[in-house]
Symmetry: C2
Subunit: 581 residues, 2 copies
C-alpha cells in the first residue's frame, strides 16, 4: 500500500522530519501511514492536505510574534475568514452533497484556530442554514450573498437573562398591517441579545428570535426574523439598532461575540422566516404545524447538528493536546538510574498512566463522533425529502438523545484531557506558546453552548425514561433505529447480573466493562423512575417532581444516594439517568 506516501513530488503523507522524536517513533509496532490511511481514507487525507497547504503558504495565516490586542485579533480573524471563502474549499453544493467535507473543513480550520472556524461556520452554516431551513423561497435571495460575503451573518437567540429557557425570551416582533412591517423591539436591558458570535464587530445581518404578536395583541411564540443590523459598506449600525462587542472572553477571542438592543426597528413582513408559521398581509397567523409536539419533533434535527458538531470539535482539541504532550514527553528527560543517563519522561509508568488513556479516548471519540455525524446526515436527508415515517421520527429522537449525551462526554473528556496534558508538561505546559492554554480556553465553551452539559444530560435521561414508561404502560418493545438502546429490553435480567471477575485479566475483555455500564444504566434508570413516580404520587407537580429527583440528597425525595460526594465521573454517569429537568 503506497498510494499517498511515496513516488510523488508532493506526497499527501510525506515522511516525518528527522529529529529528537526519531527514537520513540522507531519503536512503533505499526506503520503510521497505514493507520492514517485506514482512519481517514485517501480522499479525506488529500482534502485536508489541500487545506493545510493553502494556510501554510499564505502569509495572512502566519502566527504573528507576540500577542495581539483584542481589536487586532478580531480584525485579522475577519480577514482570514474572508480569505477562506476566496480559497473556495467548499462549493454551495457541498453543503448538502458532501457533508463530510464540511465537517473536515471546520475541523482543519479549528486545528489552526477555533476563532476562525467558528467565525466561518457561524456565518455559513448557522446563519445560512437558519435562513435555508427556517425560511422559504422568498429568502433564498440571501444565499448567494452569504457565499460571496456581500452580507455577513449571525444567529441571535440568547438574551442577557435567558439562555437555556428559550420560551422566556423577551424580544418582541409586533406586526403593523398598515405598512406590512414587523416592529422588532427589546423591552429592556435584560432582553438584549447577548453572546451572539459575529455580532460584535462584523455582522451586517442577524437571524433574530422574537415573540411574534399579531394585531390585537395575541402572542404566537418565538419566531426567527432576518434583521439588517449594520450597513455593509461602513459597518455602522442601522437606525434603531444598538449593537456592540461584549468584550474579552476566556478564549476564542478572535471571534467577535456581541450584543444588540432593538428600538422599534421596522422590517418587511417578508423577513419573517416562515417555515413553521407565516403572516398574511392583513396580519392573520397561518401555520401548518398541528401542535407543539410536531414542531418540537421537526426542530430536533437542527438541535442535534450543533451538538454533533461540538462533539467533533472537542475531539480535535483532545487530539492536538495529546499530540503536544506525548511529543514533549518523548523528548523531555528527567531523572534516571544514573546521573549520566536521564530517561524520557514518557518512559515513566506515571506519565503513561496520565496520558495514554486520553490518547485512547481521542481515537474512541473520533470514531464515535464521525459515526454519529453520518447518522445525522441520514436524519437530515429524511427531513429534506419530508419523510414523516415513524422510523424517521424515532431516529430523530434517538440521535437527539445520543447528541445530548455525546456532546457532554466529548467536551468534558477533552477539557480534562487538555488539563492533564498541561500539567503533564510541567512548567513548559504553562507557557502560552505551547498552546495547551489556548486549547483549553477554546474548548471550554463546548461544555456550555448549544446547551449546558448538565442540562443536556437530562435530555438523554428523559429519552431513556420515556422508553421505560412506554414499555411499562403499553408493553412496547424497546428498539431504536440505531439499536443503541435495544439492550434495555433485557432490563430486569440485566439488573439480576452480578460482577464475577476475580482478576485483572477477567476485565481485559471489553464485554466486561460494557456489561457493567449496561447494569449501571439500568440501575440508575430504575432508581430514577421509582423516585419520579413516588414524587408524583405524593402530589408534586411535574416541575417539582423532576426537580426533586435531580442528583442530590433531598429529604423530600427519600433518596438512596449517599451524601458523601462521589467521584466526579460516577456523578456524571449518574446524571445521565437521574437528572430529569
Amino acid at each position: 500500500m503506497a498510494p499517498l506516501g511515496e513516488g510523488s513530488d508532493d506526497p499527501v503523507l510525506p515522511d516525518l522530519p528527522r529529529g529528537p522524536l526519531d527514537a520513540a517513533r522507531a519503536r512503533a509496532s505499526f506503520p503510521w501511514k497505514e493507520l492514517a490511511l485506514f482512519w481517514d481514507g485517501p480522499d479525506m487525507l488529500r482534502f485536508k492536505k489541500s487545506i493545510f497547504s493553502a494556510l501554510e503558504n499564505d502569509p495572512l495565516f502566519a502566527h504573528p510574534p507576540g500577542s495581539l490586542s483584542l481589536e487586532k485579533y478580531r480584525e485579522l480573524n475577519f480577514l482570514r475568514c474572508k480569505r477562506v471563502f476566496e480559497y473556495d474549499f467548499l462549493r454551495v453544493e457541498d453543503l448538502l452533497g458532501s457533508p463530510q467535507r464540511v465537517l473536515a473543513l471546520i475541523q482543519c480550520l479549528g486545528m489552526y484556530d477555533w476563532s476562525l472556524a467558528t467565525k466561518f461556520f457561524l456565518h455559513t452554516l448557522t446563519f445560512g442554514s437558519a435562513i435555508y431551513s427556517s425560511g422559504s423561497e422568498r429568502h433564498f435571495k440571501y444565499l448567494p450573498k452569504i457565499f460571496n460575503m456581500e452580507i455577513f451573518g449571525c444567529f441571535a437567540l440568547t438574551e442577557v437573562s435567558h439562555g437555556s429557557n428559550t420560551k422566556a425570551m423577551r424580544t418582541t416582533a409586533h406586526y403593523d398591517p398598515t405598512t406590512e412591517e414587523l416592529i422588532i423591539h427589546s423591552p429592556d436591558f435584560e432582553a438584549a441579545k447577548f453572546w451572539v458570535g459575529n455580532m460584535g464587530k462584523t455582522a451586517t445581518h442577524a437571524v433574530v428570535f422574537a415573540q411574534l404578536y399579531t394585531p390585537g395583541g395575541r402572542c404566537h411564540g418565538l419566531h426567527p426574523f432576518v434583521v439588517q443590523i449594520r450597513d455593509p459598506k461602513t459597518l455602522l449600525p442601522m437606525p434603531g439598532v444598538m449593537v456592540g462587542d461584549i468584550g474579552k472572553k476566556l478564549g476564542q477571542n478572535g471571534l467577535d461575540n456581541g450584543f444588540a438592543m432593538f428600538h422599534k426597528v421596522r422590517i418587511p413582513r417578508q423577513d419573517l422566516l416562515n417555515r413553521s408559521g407565516d403572516l398574511t398581509p392583513e396580519g392573520t397567523y397561518v401555520t401548518h404545524v398541528k401542535d407543539s409536539r410536531q414542531h418540537f419533533s421537526e426542530s430536533l434535527g437542527s438541535l442535534s447538528s450543533g451538538r454533533v458538531a461540538i462533539a467533533g470539535m472537542s475531539v480535535v482539541n483532545l487530539k492536538l493536546a495529546v499530540s503536544i504532550a506525548l511529543r514533549f514527553s518523548a523528548t523531555r528527560r528527567q531523572f534516571g538510574p544514573t546521573d549520566q543517563e536521564e530517561v524520557p519522561v514518557l518512559e515513566y509508568p506515571m506519565q503513561q498512566w496520565r496520558l495514554l488513556p486520553y490518547l485512547a479516548a481521542a481515537y474512541a471519540l473520533d470514531h464515535f463522533s464521525k459515526s454519529l455525524f453520518l447518522d445525522l446526515v441520514e436524519l437530515q436527508q429524511g427531513l429534506l425529502r419530508k419523510d414523516r415515517s415513524a422510523r424517521q421520527a424515532e431516529l430523530g429522537r434517538e440521535i437527539h438523545a445520543l447528541a445530548s449525551a455525546g456532546k457532554p462526554l466529548a467536551s468534558w473528556t477533552a477539557q480534562r484531557g487538555i488539563q492533564e496534558c498541561r500539567e503533564a508538561c510541567g512548567g513548559h505546559g504553562y507557557l502560552a506558546m505551547n498552546r495547551l492554554g489556548d486549547l483549553r480556553d477554546d474548548n471550554d465553551p463546548n461544555c456550555t453552548y448549544e446547551g449546558d452539559n448538565n442540562v443536556l444530560l437530562q435530555q438523554t435521561s428523559n429519552y431513556l425514561l420515556g422508553l421505560l414508561v412506554r414499555r411499562d404502560q403499553g408493553g412496547a418493545r424497546i428498539e431504536s433505529p440505531l439499536k443503541t438502546v435495544d439492550f434495555l429490553e433485557a432490563y430486569p435480567n440485566i439488573l439480576g447480573h452480578r460482577f464475577e471477575g476475580s482478576s485483572p485479566e477477567d476485565c481485559l475483555d471489553s464485554s466486561v466493562p460494557l456489561a457493567a455500564y449496561e447494569w449501571l444504566v439500568c440501575y440508575l434508570l430504575r432508581e430514577s423512575y421509582q423516585k419520579l413516580n413516588q414524587e408524583k404520587q405524593s402530589g408534586s407537580s411535574d416541575f417539582e417532581a423532576r426537580n426533586n429527583c435531580q442528583p442530590k440528597t433531598s429529604k423530600r425525595c427519600g433518596t438512596q444516594r449517599s451524601p458523601i460526594p462521589t467521584t466526579s465521573e460516577s456523578r456524571r454517569a449518574a446524571q445521565v439517568t437521574t437528572g430529569l429537568v
Copy 2:
C-alpha cells in the same frame, strides 16, 4: 457580640449593600458577622480591612477598562508592587514575629491579583529569605536594600531542561583563587535559567544555583550565589548576562518570568551564600554538614514553606470562585413552575450539588492550610534556635509529608472547583470580566511549581512507606509530633475492618468516611510495600523498583490494579500511597 460591626463610622464588618442578593441572604440560619469573627478573629479582620481599604482608595489599583498589553500589565504590576512597600503593611520584624500577618498580606494581594502577590513575595520572601537563611552575616547588607527596593530580587533554580531533578542542574561556579572570584557560567542553552519570576524585566539581583567547582576541578554540588544581573538605575543587563522575558503564560501575566544565561560572569567569593558550605580564600571547601542526610533534613523546612503557602493560595482562589458562582446563582433565574415565576438557579438541587461541596471544601481546606501553617511556624522557630532534637527532625519530616500531599489536594480541588463554577455560571462564566477564567489560569501553576503535584504525592508515599519499614524492621511505634499518622499503628487491625453501613444515614457521621479513608490508606500502603519488596527481590535496582511500582499496569510488576481507567479521584488517592519515585 458587636465589636466590629456597629457603633463605628468605619466598621470593619459593615452591613452588606442592599440588592438582588437580599432575598437569599435573609434566609441565612446564622449571623454572618459572627461567623467571620469566629473564623478570622478581630485583629486579622482589621488588618485585612486596612489592606483592602488602601487598595480600594488608590487609583493605581483601579482596574483599567479593556485589556492591557503584556508590556503594560507587567509595568503596572511593578509600580503596584513598589506602592505596596510604600504602604508599609509589614515591617521587617513582622517577617519573623508575625508570620500570620505575612500570610494574610499575601492572600489579600492575591485576592486583588496574584501577579502582584507573587511579584511581592518572590522579592521579599523567596529572594529575601534565601539570602537570610542560606547566607550569613556578610550577606545581611542586602536586607535593608530589599525592603527599600534599592535592589529587586529573584530566585534562579530551574533551568530549561531541568526542573524536578535539581541534581542535574548544569550552571557552573568555578572558583578562581588568583582574584578570589567565582565564575558563573551557563554551558549551553539547555542550562539557561528559566521560568524565574521577576527576572524577565525587573530583577537587579538573583540568587543563582550553580554547581560549585574548586581548583583542581572537584564539584561540591549545587550552591546558591548572589549575582547582580541588571543595573538598578537603567535596568540594562550586566556584562556577560543575557537576560530576558520568557513571554506570555496561561496566567499571572503581570509577573515577568524570565530566563538568563551567564557568560563567565565574575562575582566576589563572598557572594557565595555559605550556610551549608564555604570557600577559604585559597579555594578550600569547608562545611559543617556531616552528610547529605543532615543537609536534606535541614532543607525540608524551606521546601515545606513554599508548599504550605501554595495550599493557602489555592484556597483563596476557591473562595473567590465559589463566592462569584453562588452569588450569580442566587440571582440568575431560569425556568420555573409557571411562565411568570422563574426560579433562581441556586434553588435547583443540581446547582447546589455542583457548587455546595466546593463551598464546604473551601472552609475545610482554609482551616487545614491555616493549621498547617501554624505547625510550620513552630518548625521554623525550632530551626532558628538550632533545635537538633529528634522531635524537631520528626516534625520536619511530618510537615514535609503533609505539605507534599496538602498542596496537591488544595491546588487540584481549587482547579476543579473553579472549573465547575465557570460551567455553573453558563455563558456568563465564560466572559472574562467575571473573573473565573483569571482565577483558573492564575491557580493553575499551583499544580506545578514547588513540585509537580504527581511527583510531590510520591514524597508523601515515601514518608508513609518509611514508617512501615521502620515498624516492621525495628518494631518502632508509629507516632508523630502532630499525630497525623498515629492511626497506622493499628494498621493490621484496620485492614480487618469491613464497611457495615446500610443506609445513607449510617454515613452521615464523619467517622464513617474517616474510617474508610484509613482503611484505604492502609490497603494501598500494604499493596505498595509488597510490590516494592517483590521488585527488589527480583533484582531490580532501587530506581527500577520504584518506577515499576508507580500506578500502572505493568507486566513486570504483576500488579493487581485493573487496566480499566478508574475515576480520577480514586486514582489520585491511590497515587498518594502507590507512587514511589
